[in-house]
Symmetry: C2
Subunit: 159 residues, 2 copies
Amino acid sequence: MLGRLYANEVCSAARTLEIVGERWSLLIIRNAMFFGMTRFTDFQRDLGVATNILAKRLSEFVAAGVFETRPDARSAHVEYVLTQKGRELQPVIIALTEWGDRWANPDGKPITFEHADCGGHVGLKAECKGCSDCPSPIDVTARADPRFIQLREQRRQRH
Amino acid sequence: MLGRLYANEVCSAARTLEIVGERWSLLIIRNAMFFGMTRFTDFQRDLGVATNILAKRLSEFVAAGVFETRPDARSAHVEYVLTQKGRELQPVIIALTEWGDRWANPDGKPITFEHADCGGHVGLKAECKGCSDCPSPIDVTARADPRFIQLREQRRQRH
């Protein structure tokens, strides 16, 4: 975790990035979520991340409630298992993947997401709960709660 | 950008994180996307990020085609405007926000997303293109293209 790095932010995206915005964080979560990884050595070998960094990330994730540990029946170590809080990061991973497929991966689509029940392709869509349209990005605006604008201003002045 | 930090990764999510995974990156994009910011001084003042870091991020974004510059009619500086490539990062920002609303922001929902046409609330949903269900995270699996598994293995052995 980044600590309260974005201290003057009240935005939920900023809060999320404090938990998952560090280098490797989302790749660790991706490996647990989609490749079923649970063991330290598997994460380490697959990602090639330094062991001290991996140990730090995993222990921060456990502290944040994104992973939980359980005894590993096959060794003296523990396994790291995503909690519901961790599993619900799935749209973040899918959104990153879809953008990367379109804009950053010249080789094509390395990974596709499938619905376990029917084998259909799963994708994200932005949907308006008012009219059920799927608005394009340019037609979506953000409305800030006035309470939070004030709170943010106060925090900014304090830092 | 992180350079080819995740060198042995072929995954699109990893490619995306090379472009937007650095500290501050997604908050800069959020401010441009939802608060209409275009000027260096506005980003700097709002985020409180060091000027050298902000300058580096913006110039990397321009190089990556996420922002483009245009002359600022009101000053001798340039304005930074999201390209289509940049605007299409919107689902990433919304996904981070929705997770943060639920799991990381005890104060509530600072920001909501609205459909400009009708004022309705815009949210993300994962949808199966096969059966039109909205599967929960646990019912979504990832299928890796065999070509890419091989490619990834080759890259890993090289590093």
